[in-house]
Amino acid sequence: MRAAMAAIALLVAACSGESAAPFVVANIEVTEPMPGRGMSAGYMTLTNNTGSQITVTDVRSAEYNNVEIHRSTVEDGVARMRRVDKLEIPAGSTITLERGGLHLMLMQAEGNPDAVSLSFYDGEMLLMNVVANIVRRAD
């Protein structure tokens, strides 16, 4: 019930067009799928304007068969990449998915899409849908 209320609250706020939406996904940069394996990386900021924590457990995309949340680290001269179970965005905070850190790994692109849709979930509860242009390599 609480989850449903939260979902409705998010939806209402998102539709109202007010600037301070409860959950804001911005500065989205999804790279062009890499030739060879059709794999992209997604970078963005996630802002929680509510008074309680927002948790993202899954991200889905129509253009990719699989999306995972990953974290790259470089420690003691070794670069590692590991899957992260969830993103926790504390009340009133912004977290950043950036190069060399937390990022989305988007796998098996369907063709070479120009835009990407991303749906953010907490379990089965849809938090947000966004669409962003895919960033082509600058020549």
């Binding site: 890499m34 060879g36 001269g77 670069a79 990449m81 988007l106 390599r137």
Partner: protein
Amino acid sequence: MGPRNFVIAFAAGIALAAGIFLALKQSAPQQLRSAFVLPAPEVLPDFALLDQAGEAFTPDSLSGQWDVVFFGFTSCPDICPVTLQKLTLARRQMQEAGIGELPRIVLVSVDPEHDTPDIIGKYVNYFGDGNVGVTGTLEETRKLAKSLYVYFEKVALEDGGYTVDHSPAVLVIDPDGRYHSGFGSSMTAEDYAYDLSILMGVY
């Protein structure tokens, strides 16, 4: 200010300007920002790998030009493309600075089991046609990695997948095919361009 004080101040000013000029002339342009240089260049041992065309890639293949060598794999969406992108930008900045001789970018697969010559070639040529993708057997890859002090290890993940932990270093091979210098971890494109220009003696 009396004439004597004026002379002293004037002389001090001259000395300061001369000092700055000498400091800039002597040290600043040659001061590496982040690269390390080997005390003496090291000859690479024999190894037999393949380039993206499926042709032999041996120590001889690294002779004749400056090479920047990075170890990565094509299932790596973040650190590997980011590093290759920075090296590509560094090359462009060097070109725009009027430097005629540019380093060649070489990507060696740490996932040779999955990265065929065709796949590694498509991946590395995404960043530029002149780049070289290298793969082969695990054993031969280890020979090259070991000679460059590069660590890599395949790691099984709980969900059944895998990843490859690897050194993010960028190694510089001189035109005699010797391990000359390198960068321990990721730098900005500007730093790569600046240091590579010094290392290649074209600054």
